[in-house]
């Protein structure tokens, strides 16, 4: 479904991704771990089409289509979703209205009419229940004054609404207490299907106890230096990242 080949990306002439190869098939969950500054968030941004990064080499394909010339909004329409580490506050636009805009823009791009208000309300009710979100929360301005946990839960709510093919969750576990983590993880698990894929970007193993990955990759210095099954995450938790750095240095 998502095929990344020899991906190099830089920002202001500084190369951050130095040749990433990754294939994610439908129905799979991949975890990308690694120390701070290894390029995890950059990879997430580049897949979603952030134009602040320049792809200098390699390619990203979604269902066989090269995404090189595809804008972030078009990638969203095609089924790429990024849950942000730091979601942006939009005063004056409620969560509900924001989702209406996002969904209807996506429908417009596909040549569809706006979703009827009745269907929209039903969808919002269904998905907010999934993430145990209070209705009052939905009328608040997007992310404005939200706690860290509320912001992350709201990101997954948006994911639920948009039903992407490939969802990339960038440090979704950071800033979450254990109850919020459980709710978010259970939401993601319910949204998982044989037709979509999830990429978890995380620093810690904690999230992976709730959302069990099929594959774990370790990113270091802009490259995937090790891949394995879910047991690799445990190993990393136990030993930290230092041994990897030494191993790659050798």
């Amino acid at each position: 479904m998502l095929k990344i080949k020899d991906l190099h990306a830089s920002v202001e002439d500084k190369e951050i991704l130095k040749g990433i190869n990754l294939e994610v098939k439908a129905g799979e969950v991949h975890a990308i771990m690694g120390p701070n500054g290894s390029g995890k968030s950059t990879l997430a941004s580049v897949i979603a089409g952030n134009e602040n990064f320049e792809v200098t080499q390699g390619s990203i394909e979604l269902s066989g289509e090269d995404l090189e010339e595809v804008s972030p909004e078009e990638r969203a329409h095609k089924g790429v979703f990024l849950s942000f580490q730091y979601p942006v506050e939009i005063p004056g636009v409620s969560v509900t209205n924001f989702m209406k805009t996002a969904i209807n823009e996506s429908r417009k791009a596909k040549g569809l009419e706006d979703m009827p208000a009745k269907d929209m309300l039903k969808l919002i009710r269904e998905k907010s229940e999934l993430l145990e979100i209070d209705r009052k929360f939905l009328s608040r301005s997007l992310n404005e004054g939200f706690s860290g946990g509320e912001k992350k839960r709201n990101e997954i709510f948006q994911m639920a609404m948009l039903e992407p093919k490939v969802a990339i969750l960038d440090e979704t576990d950071s800033g979450l207490d254990i109850d919020a983590l459980r709710i978010v993880a259970s939401g993601v698990n319910k949204l998982k299907s044989k037709d979509n894929a999830v990429i978890l970007i995380t620093h810690y193993q904690r999230l992976l106890e709730y959302i069990v990955p099929d594959y774990v990759h370790v990113l270091h210095n802009g490259k995937i230096v090790k891949s394995g099954g879910k047991e690799l995450a445990l190993e990393l938790e136990e030993k930290g990242y230092d041994w990897l750095k030494q191993e790659t240095a050798v």
Binding site: G49, E73, V80, F84, V88, I90, P91, G92, N97, T101
Partner: protein
């Protein structure tokens, strides 16, 4: 004849129509003298460096409009906050329209300056308040004082609050080729009383209009005043708004200025804190295009200790529009524990648009908190990416972010219907189809 000479010679004609025996006329005569000495301010003066009145002075404005310019309510309904009930003080070409107005004397006085300046029953209030906080030195204020005859008169006695907000509307019909208006408002809010006022100037044609308005507001101890200025006039209408506010202990006054239109707009907003534990708030949203020009000059004079002031002005400038923000804060030596906050953020969406922003702090006390900040920039790229990644196209995402930027100032608007109205105006000005109802 230039505009200054025309105004001075018109003063004699004006005297034929007012009671020259009334003590207010001494005030008028002193004022015309000051205007005659000083004339229109020029760009050589620091306070007028970025705003030129030269081209306006070349227009042959009518000083006294004809009296019979009637309007039908249906033609102007959309300029009223018609979603809710309100008191209305309406002027058509500077003349009071009883037909469009709804005034009251039921416990509060919501009526006319012309009545207050002539009827004996109002004399005690006029004696105490008229022209007491307005500048006697500033030439355009003096010009207005000299011709002061009509405007809104609002008196709210102790512990009272009018049942509904008050709208002050000035319409220009365009029946004159060009018209100069000089409304004069007096608003007195006594101890523990409260009032909400919405003011709007609206020209109905593309004929030139120049309004030089003066408003004096007196907020007594623990009084609450909310004043909303809607400036969304046509591109042949210019406005010089001079507002002076005197606050006593524990009073709370908020002035919101929404500048979305007009040719040239100058807002001189002056707060004088004559008491302790006072809260003064100034908020503004400015969204301009074409060749529009808006100049916000604010002044907060902290005279006594333990007071606060909050200023938050946001501007979005497109096309060849120009903006000015000059925020002056004076903290007197005895005004310890002052907390003065000032913020001015601007977004330029065209290479030809410009903004001059200048904080001006004069602090003579040593135990105060004063913060100020101004920014001029473009939209936040991370925020833009966030919206695009949700499938919102870049153009719409930009508009949505500008909307959010401006909307931030509206949290303190206490009339929900007005807030909705302003939100819609902002969306319309930015050409945003938000895809939902506000």
């Amino acid at each position: 004849m230039d505009l200054k000479d025309k105004l001075i010679s018109s003063f004699m004609a004006f005297e034929n129509n007012v009671d020259v025996e009334h003590p207010v006329h001494d005030v008028r005569m002193a004022a015309i003298k000051n205007f005659e000495d000083k004339g229109f301010p020029s760009k050589k003066e620091e306070a007028w460096k970025y705003t030129s009145l030269n081209s306006l002075q070349k227009i042959d404005f009518s000083i006294f409009p004809k009296e019979d310019n009637a309007l039908e309510y249906k033609d102007v309904k959309r300029y009223f906050l018609h979603e809710i009930d309100s008191y209305k003080i309406v002027f058509v070409d500077g003349i009071y329209s009883s037909y469009l107005s709804e005034t009251t004397h039921d416990g509060v006085d919501i009526c006319l300056m012309s009545a207050a300046l002539t009827k004996p029953m109002y004399k005690p209030v006029i004696d105490v308040y008229f022209n007491k906080i307005a500048s006697k030195d500033e030439s355009l204020t003096s010009l207005n004082t000299a011709f002061s005859r009509e405007g809104a008169y609002i008196y709210i006695p102790k512990n009272k609050m009018p049942k509904k907000p008050i709208e002050i509307l000035h319409f220009s019909t365009g029946n004159e080729a060009s018209l100069m208006l000089q409304p004069r408002n007096l608003i007195v809010v006594e101890e523990n009383a409260e009032v909400q006022i919405i003011e709007r100037h609206q020209s109905l044609t593309s004929n030139e209009v120049l309004t030089n308005a003066v408003t004096e507001i007196f907020a007594a101890k623990s009084a609450i005043v909310d004043f909303y200025k809607i400036q969304n006039d046509v591109e042949s209408a210019s406005l010089i708004d001079n507002t002076y506010i005197d606050q006593k202990d524990k009073s709370v006054v908020k002035v919101h200025t929404f500048s979305f239109g007009g040719k040239l707009t100058r807002n001189n907003l002056n707060f004088y804190q004559n008491g302790e534990y006072i809260d003064s708030t100034m908020k503004g949203v400015t969204i301009l295009g074409e060749k529009q020009h808006v100049d916000h000059h604010t002044l907060v004079h902290h005279i006594e200790p333990n007071c606060e002031s909050h200023q938050d002005y946001k501007g979005i400038y497109g096309d060849s529009s120009t903006g000015v923000f000059n925020g002056k804060i004076i903290v007197d030596k005895i005004a310890q524990k002052t907390n003065a906050f000032q913020q001015n953020n601007n977004i330029l969406i065209s290479d030809k648009a410009s903004i001059n922003t200048k904080p001006q702090l004069e602090i003579f006390a040593d135990d105060v908190k004063c913060s100020h900040g101004c920014t001029i920039g473009q939209l936040d790229e991370d925020a833009l990416f966030y919206l695009q990644s949700r499938g919102i196209p870049q153009k719409e995402a930009r508009a949505l972010l500008m909307y959010a930027f401006a909307n931030n100032v509206l949290s303190s608007v206490r009339i929900p219907e007005l807030k909705t109205r302003i939100n819609k105006l902002i969306a319309k000005k930015l050409g945003v189809n938000l895809g939902f109802d506000l």
